[in-house]
């Protein structure tokens, strides 16, 4: 499949979302908004996991920083409820990046399972702060945001807010796509495949990884700003380990190293967990089965499905395209 075709599929999917979702029930609109806001976090994780080969277990920290910042500014200073919402978006990105810049100094020297553990520890530090810094974060009770911003358009209207999140999601996807296709993104893939060779070729692999880490943090912060206004509440639950694990599982489920795979993963998990659970009590079995089946039969995630089908068909004769599954974004 040519990349042009893939891009048109993605654009068509986003357009379909934009057209179809407002006609569904308001509960579905809410879930779609949640899935889109969380997708940005999953994609940011995919930059590390799929494109740089760094599995992070602390990505929720950046969502948390963005979300708490939004909530604190909104409730304590009434800031970010008008046009200054865009300033909050910018601040969210900056805060996420700044935190990642700090954590990266500690985390980037580690690789593999050590990287996993150190990001886990750093993520839990943020959780600990959220949980214990009662005067700032409200502790266990979290912070209620009250109203959504209003600036010409009223974001408390569900559909309007959905479009805003969709637009920022599309922008993020585009930005990350450009990033991973850039020479910088290619060097990240090189580091993922074989770091030593990249070093010998003269690349500063530490710096590359560090920058990727910061960029991922920045998008995490953005997703936090949107998440805060989507949920209307920010609590330590958003920063806790399981949120990071959710993001990781979503990325793996959809297919790491594909960006949109994470989005598909996020939509599936949120649909099962928050929609299917309103219909049947055994939704957890379905979720478990999806995870297990994917890992057994689609190690490259759901994004590997078309490739898999094509290879089984076999007759088309483009056999070698299946070999570099993970390298091609979207």
């Amino acid at each position: 499949m040519t990349s042009r075709l893939k891009i048109s599929v993605v654009i068509a999917a986003i357009a379909a979302l934009a057209i179809a979702v407002p006609f569904t029930s308001s509960f579905v609109i809410l879930l779609a908004t949640r899935a889109l806001a969380f997708s940005i976090l999953v994609m940011s994780l995919d930059i590390l996991l799929g494109f740089t080969g760094l599995a992070s277990l602390g990505q929720a920290a950046y969502l948390g920083v963005g979300a708490y910042m939004t909530a604190i500014l909104a409730t304590k200073y009434q800031f970010g409820l008008g046009y200054d919402f865009w300033l909050v978006v910018l601040l969210g990105i900056l805060f996420g990046a700044a935190l990642a810049a700090l954590f990266g100094l500690l985390a980037i020297r580690a690789t593999g399972v050590y990287f996993l553990m150190i990001t886990l520890a750093l993520g839990q530090c943020v959780w600990g702060l959220a949980y214990r810094w009662n005067s700032l974060t409200g502790g266990d009770n979290g912070i209620n945001l009250g109203v959504r911003p209003k600036f010409g358009i009223d974001l408390s209207d569900q559909v309007t807010f959905f479009y805003l999140v969709l637009a920022l999601f599309a922008l993020s996807l585009f930005a990350m796509y450009v990033l991973v296709r850039s020479p910088f993104g290619r060097s990240l893939a090189g580091i993922r495949e074989r770091e030593l060779r990249m070093k010998i070729l003269g690349y500063n692999t530490w710096l590359h990884k560090y920058i990727a880490f910061i960029i991922a943090g920045a998008f995490g912060g953005l997703s936090g700003v949107l998440w805060a206004h989507t949920a209307g509440i920010v609590s330590p639950d958003n920063v806790v380990l399981t949120t990071s694990v959710d993001a990781l599982l979503m990325a793996v489920l959809g297919g790491a190293g594909t960006l949109v795979g994470g989005v598909i993963g996020a939509f599936i998990v949120i649909a099962l967990r928050e929609y299917l659970s309103t219909l049947v009590p055994w939704w957890q079995y379905v979720l478990g089965a999806v995870y297990v089946l994917t890992i057994f039969y689609l190690p490259s995630g759901l994004m590997g499905l078309p490739e898999r089908i094509r290879r089984r068909g076999g007759a088309l004769g483009n056999g070698n395209s299946g070999e570099k599954l993970s390298a091609a974004p979207s």
């Binding site: 308001s26 509960f27 266990d140 639950d237 099962l272 967990r273 928050e274 659970s277 219909l279 089984r312």
Partner: protein, 418 residues
């Protein structure tokens, strides 16, 4: 074959979510109650008690509230505040429920109350006990009613009771989160106001499995130990305390010994004392009938989670009886509910002007004995003293009480700690 299976099953799963998107149908004489409880996850057992309690009342009246047919829709809030918000919105927007009932954790209560405000839908909280929902933040939540308790409500009379026992110095050890602060804080305030001294406050993190590091630090000159445990902590702490050779009296917050944990406890908790607005060992005809019916149906002793949801259902029914089965609208419903005095399983209840129950607080001692004609010796929370009609402000002046900050890790300050 497996691939074929996946190809068939995968799209089915994806499609299933959308295909089943059918809304609820609204009948004329229908009362739709959206119920939120954690039915999966680590709090699933508590969630089941909550649902069972409410369901039991519905079964007793055949889901008929004064002519209105009750449609009881349970949603899984998974013990997560933001999932609770999503599910509440589903219940309100899609199922068009008349009211939301439920929410387990204090944080879930805090998350749901603003939804009730923005969606102008009645929200009744039978369990979530965060003090400020009916205290300093009440003005923000005009559609909120509590049928359970505030965390510090049983603690206030219990502080007085501790003074009456002649305890002078007490060490507290409580789970390190908002609910713990409020239970311990209320106790400390009342206990120190009648001359007692809290000489040490220990805060193990919630979910602590090993109290080994904490128990040896308990000051030896204390007259008693006040504990506030939740969930598995409640089981672990008394075991380790007894193993460490403790001889001091142990008293604690309601959740340290309520009937949700009591049947799983060992004999080491015999003699421990705790306050709550309900005890399964309450010897009133209404409660005996309730315990027996509940036990026959679910094969366990009802916990306060079951009782408070049962009572909530009864309360809603009583309001509907006043309106003749017509939904009066949220504001009118609240007014009717506030003007009511009910004789319930837990005793007489009514709402104060800040929409929190005024009710008996029972001081209960764990005893091993036979009760209600059951032929086995079991642990029961025997009521040893009743403080009648206790409100959330106890004997304090309401205005002065509301001026002080909400109980926290630092309030009341530990004046007598070294």
């Amino acid at each position: 074959m497996t691939h074929a299976l996946l190809r068939t099953v995968g799209p089915m799963l994806l499609g299933g979510g959308l295909a089943l998107a059918t809304g609820a149908t609204a009948g004329a004489e229908e009362l739709r109650i959206g119920f939120l409880a954690p039915t999966t996850g680590i709090f699933a057992a508590v969630g089941k008690d909550m649902v069972d309690g409410f369901q039991m009342y519905l079964d007793e009246v055949k889901s008929n509230f004064a002519g209105a047919q009750v449609k009881f829709i349970v949603e899984d809030e998974q013990g997560k505040p933001d999932v609770a918000v999503t599910k509440a919105k589903k219940l309100i927007l899609q199922d068009k429920v008349h009211m939301i009932v439920g929410g387990l954790l204090a944080s879930t209560g805090y998350a749901l109350a603003p939804v009730s405000t923005s969606e102008k839908t009645l929200y009744i909280s039978p369990v979530a006990a965060a003090d400020d929902l009916t205290q300093r933040q009440l003005d923000k939540f005009p559609f909120f009613i509590r049928t359970g308790w505030t965390s510090s409500q049983p603690s206030h009379p219990f502080g007085q009771w501790a003074c009456d026992q002649g305890y002078k110095k007490i060490v507290t050890i409580g789970a390190d989160y908002a609910f713990g602060y409020e239970v311990v804080g209320g106790f400390q305030k009342a206990f120190e106001d009648c001359g007692g001294k809290v000489i040490q406050k220990i805060w193990p993190p919630i979910g602590t499995k090993d109290f080994g590091p904490y128990i040896p630090t308990i000051k030896q000159d204390a007259d008693a130990i006040f504990t506030l445990m939740v969930g598995p902590m409640s089981l672990q702490f008394p075991k380790q305390l007894a193993a460490a050779g403790n001889t001091k009296p142990v008293i604690g917050g309601g959740t340290s010994y309520d009937e949700f944990v009591l049947p799983s406890m060992g004999d080491e908790v015999i003699g421990h004392v705790s306050p709550l607005m309900y005890s399964a060992a309450l010897d009133t005809p209404k409660n005996v009938a309730f315990v027996k019916a509940y036990r026959t149906k679910f094969n366990k002793v009802p916990s306060y989670y079951s009782e408070t949801d049962y009572t909530t259902a009864e309360w809603i029914d009583e309001v509907m009886k006043k309106t003749g089965g017509k939904w009066p609208g949220a504001e009118e419903f609240i007014k009717l509910m506030q003007g009511m005095k009910l004789d319930t399983v837990r005793g007489p209840v009514s709402l104060d002007e800040m929409r929190n129950p005024v009710q008996n607080i029972y001081i209960k001692k764990v005893e091993k004995k036979k009760m209600f004609g059951y032929d086995k010796e079991e642990l029961w929370n025997t009521v040893i003293k009743t403080y009648p009609n206790v409100g959330q402000f106890w004997t304090y002046d309401k205005a002065a009480f509301l001026k002080q900050p909400v109980y926290s890790r630092d309030f009341p300050p530990c004046k007598f700690c070294e």
